[in-house]
Amino acid sequence: MSVIILLLIASVSVAALFLGAFLWSVKSGQYDDETSPPLRILFDDKPSSKTTTKTTSVEKTNSKP
């Protein structure tokens, strides 16, 4: 019997984990802009001939304040 209780608790906590992940993703604004992320992933990070490598390494890591 106690095994079922254990499983129950386990399943609810896994579900709760997903709920937490969902709430976090909404809160962090991941659904605010649904157009640019899928486009952004397609751009190649071609290092240009004139700019230094230093500038390319600091790009796009800062999120909104």
Binding site: M1, I4, I5, L8, S11, V12, A15, A16, F18, L19, F22, L23, V26, K27, D32, D33, E34, T35, S36, L39, R40, L42, F43, K46, S48, S49, K50, T51, T55, V58, E59, K60, T61, N62, S63, K64, P65
Partner: protein, 795 residues
């Protein structure tokens, strides 16, 4: 005129046709210097991938931006209000760039650091067309960032609105509540299975464990996810009014109370599953209905049109000043293409004011020194100086916005009326049931009353309403007709009179009809006239130049322009003069037919061009179609020159009114409403703003949703105006679908109530009945509204 024989060259940068000039650079053709400069800037920094991601991704640079336009960004006070964060090193700022439209834009704007090393990062939000830039303010300034963006063709749009209010935060609580309700609902369903399927005697112990689990899981639904219903119910009760949420809130609390009692006394499993399921579905419906079009704004007022700062002249110095700080008596300097922000006297320069935004009159007006200029006009031509007569908040246009601040009376939706009757009937039934059972079997009376209230909860009504509305809004949105909320659907469906604005709504500002009458002009001569016209920046000259630009190239000598009157010059040894009748012929004549441009060659009058607004395709057919079911009025700020054409096309029963000032339009709508009409107003500019607000459903027409539209209940893309009658039919269908699904839910209720009144409704039946009725109603509303859409050929 024959256009087909002519092949056009497209600008490599913006994709526009190269009409007035063609600039060659590195094997590419550009339509203007501006486009070429952008290409050079990008080429220097090796950013030409911009052109490889999309064809002609740029925006036209033909209107050049003044050099020190952004000098106001050096002002600390203005900076403070624009930036969102600043520390010792970095400044964070968000700019609104209406030009963002494709993946090239995204790519270029996120590679800003390659153009200016002081930019730490830039990130685009495509939906809201914003770019968030982090830069090192020791190495660069806010102004140079704005100028950098301008130099690559993305001029930031900074308006007075940026100063005055913070952006409203996106409402996310409804989504959280939905997530929590979904989580609880799914788990409660899972744990209710043993209850439905029946357990063996030995497993009774398990049964109560499951029940307590359900009880715990239902608490977040009761205490958190249902909050919107409690709030709305409480709000309506405070105003002595019973809205649809009141019985729902009651049902939620009742269901929970009854279930709690059953679990604690170990008499049953309760209805936690139904309760959380209903809350979940209702929240889904509500989210659907409240899905807003983020990139559109339905609440614009004058502040989003006005600039943030203008140049004030003090002791021969040009000082950029924030608009709210401008005082009466200041002298302000306005440049070409700038909006007049305050009422003032013209003290220097010739003003050629484009008042199309305020009055609907599409041809610029010439103002002499000493004349009063009203805010809202746009200067086209050279610099002018104005003596400020009224502060921004008191200007003519601003007061027009602020007038009638009072809200539209909140219309009571027919769903609320329905639900009120429904609620009273349910209460009466519950009372009757309680009375009956208290005579026969006092113990069951309580059970019967709660079951009646649980089963008869008008959830189905709310569900059908919000799901239908949500689906209708979605379908209309797919068809480029964006409504602000569900209320607007009902207002549109109830309307019986449609008022159109003429200029910009029935006609398009993108195209003009040019007709020539007079002596025959050879192709050569037409080309020569166009070449002369190309020298001038006057809108009418530009039009002339555009329509005959491909008739060859000619050299113009001794070009002369008399602002607001006309131009002259020598082309191939002929003196050509074009302009107003007075300028060309020397005589003053009354012009009535739109705007005429007279032409003379070597002093001999040849004839005149008439320039008229171009009516949108199929617009007359559409109005004739609408005329069958609606009263139609057309209001125009323009002169009467179009009356005969409109009357001929549309018939005598269409009411036409010309010379309408913004207040006249507003008053006209008011008068219609006083006569008991429900009015839809369809307009485009600031001059329609008052009327749009006054009407029951105000719809703003726009060439592209990137443009600014005045406050309205809906935004319609201009080329869909000819589908208006289908859209109106569709909003009517909305009501039919809601009523049909309501009938279905009453059928469910009769079945459920007949069990409940007899006191024999088992938890299993209730558990099956309630979700299945909800789901079937959702399917019905979605199916029926989509079917209607297909019948009306909407996507």
């Amino acid at each position: 005129m024959d256009l087909s024989s002519h092949t056009t060259v497209k600008c490599y940068h913006c994709g526009d046709e190269c009409i007035t000039e063609q600039i060659q650079l590195a094997g590419k053709t550009f339509c203007c210097q501006g486009c070429k400069t952008v290409y050079q800037v990008l080429n220097q920094s090796d950013l030409c991938d911009y052109y490889e991601l999309n064809q002609n991704p740029g925006t036209s640079q033909r209107i050049t931006v003044r050099q020190d336009k952004f000098s106001f960004l050096d002002d600390d006070k203005i900076q403070q209000q624009l930036i969102s964060f600043r520390n010792d090193e970095q400044t964070h700022v968000t700019f609104y760039l209406p030009q963002i439209h494709c993946s090239s834009c995204l790519w270029l704007l996120e590679n800003l650091h390659r153009l200016n090393a002081a930019v730490v990062s830039s990130r685009v939000n495509f939906t809201s067309k914003e770019v968030a830039i982090v830069f090192n303010h020791r190495a660069t300034s806010l102004r140079s960032i704005a100028e950098l963006l301008t130099s690559i063709g993305y001029e930031p749009y900074i308006s007075l609105q940026n100063l005055q209010q913070a952006k409203p935060r996106i409402q996310r609580s409804l989504i959280y509540q939905l997530g929590v309700a979904g989580f609880c609902f799914a788990n409660i369903m899972l744990m209710s299975f043993p209850e439905y399927l029946g357990l063996d005697g030995i497993e009774k112990e398990m049964q109560s464990t499951f029940r307590y689990f359900n009880l715990i899981l239902s608490l977040p639904v009761l205490l958190y996810s249902s909050l919107p219903f409690y709030q709305s119910a409480w709000g309506s009760l405070k105003h002595n009014f019973l809205n649809i949420d009141a019985p729902i809130a009651l049902a939620i609390i009742m269901t929970f109370g009854r279930s709690l009692y059953e679990v604690l006394t170990n008499t049953g499993g309760g209805y936690f599953d139904s309760m959380s399921g209903i809350v979940f579905f209702m929240l889904v419906g509500r989210v659907l209905q409240e899905k807003t079009y983020q990139q559109l704004s339905f609440e614009r007022d004058y502040t989003s049109y006005f600039p943030i700062a203008v140049t004030v002249l003090k002791n021969e110095e040009e000082i950029p000043t924030a608009l709210p700080d401008i005082k009466v008596g200041d002298t302000i300097l306005l440049h070409n293409e700038e909006l007049i922000p305050v009422d003032g006297l013209l003290t220097r320069g010739k003003a050629l004011i484009d008042y199309s935004f305020v009055t609907g009159e599409s041809i610029p007006v010439l103002k002499e020194m000493g004349e009063l200029l009203y805010a809202g006009g746009k200067q086209t031509g050279g610099n002018i100086e104005l003596l400020v007569m009224k502060e921004v908040a008191q200007s003519y246009l601003t007061s027009l916005w602020n007038k009638d601040e009072k809200q539209k009376p909140q219309q009571v939706s027919f769903v609320n009326t329905l639900s009120r009757y429904f609620t009273w009937i349910v209460f009466a039934l519950a009372a009757a049931g309680a009375l009956y059972w208290s005579f026969y079997d006092g113990g069951r009376a309580w059970n019967v009353v709660t079951t009646i209230l649980i089963v008869a909860c008008p959830c189905a009504l709310l569900l059908s309403n919000s799901f239908t509305n949500g689906n209708v809004l979605r379908i209309l949105g797919n068809n480029k007709f964006y409504l602000r909320n569900a209320q607007a659907i009902e207002e549109m469906a109830n309307a019986d009179h449609i008022v159109f604005d003429k200029t910009g709504t029935l006609t398009t500002t993108e195209e003009q009809d040019i007709r020539y009458s007079g002596k025959h002009l050879s192709t050569e001569l037409t080309g020569q006239i166009a070449a002369l016209a190309a020298q001038s920046t006057h809108p009418l000259s530009k039009l002339l130049a555009k329509q005959a630009a491909h008739y060859g190239k000619y050299n113009v000598q001794q070009f002369h322009e008399l602002t607001g009157k006309g131009i002259s010059g020598i082309v191939d040894q002929q003196i050509i003069a074009i302009g107003s009748a007075e300028f060309v012929t020397g005589r003053v004549t009354r012009q009535i037919n739109g705007s005429s441009v007279y032409v003379s060659v070597d002093g001999e009058l040849m004839g005149f061009y008439t320039i008229r607004n171009h009516y949108r395709p199929a617009i007359f057919k559409q109005i004739l179609q609408l005329k069958k079911n609606y009263g139609i009025s057309i209001l125009s700020g323009d002169n009467e020159s179009e009356r005969s054409i409109l009357q001929k096309e549309l018939g005598d029963d269409v009411q036409l009114h010309f010379y309408q000032k913004p207040e006249d339009k507003l008053r006209y709508i008011k008068r219609l409403q006083e006569n008991g009409h429900k009015v839809i107003m369809i307009g485009d500019g600031l001059n329609d703003a008052g009327a749009l607000k006054q009407s029951d459903a105000g719809i703003a027409v726009t060439e592209s949703t990137n443009n600014f539209t005045p406050a309205s209940d809906g935004i319609l893309e201009a080329d869909k105006l000819r589908r208006l009658s289908s859209y109106l039919l569709f909003t009517k269908a909305n009501k039919k679908v809601v009523i049909a699904s309501f009938v279905l839910s009453i059928l469910y209720n009769i079945v459920g109530l007949s069990f409940a009144l007899q006191g024999i409704l088992s938890p299993l039946v209730a558990a099956i009945l309630m979700p299945s009725s909800s789901i079937s109603i959702i399917l019905l509303t979605f199916g029926a509204s989509s079917l209607y859409a297909r019948r009306l050929h909407l996507n």
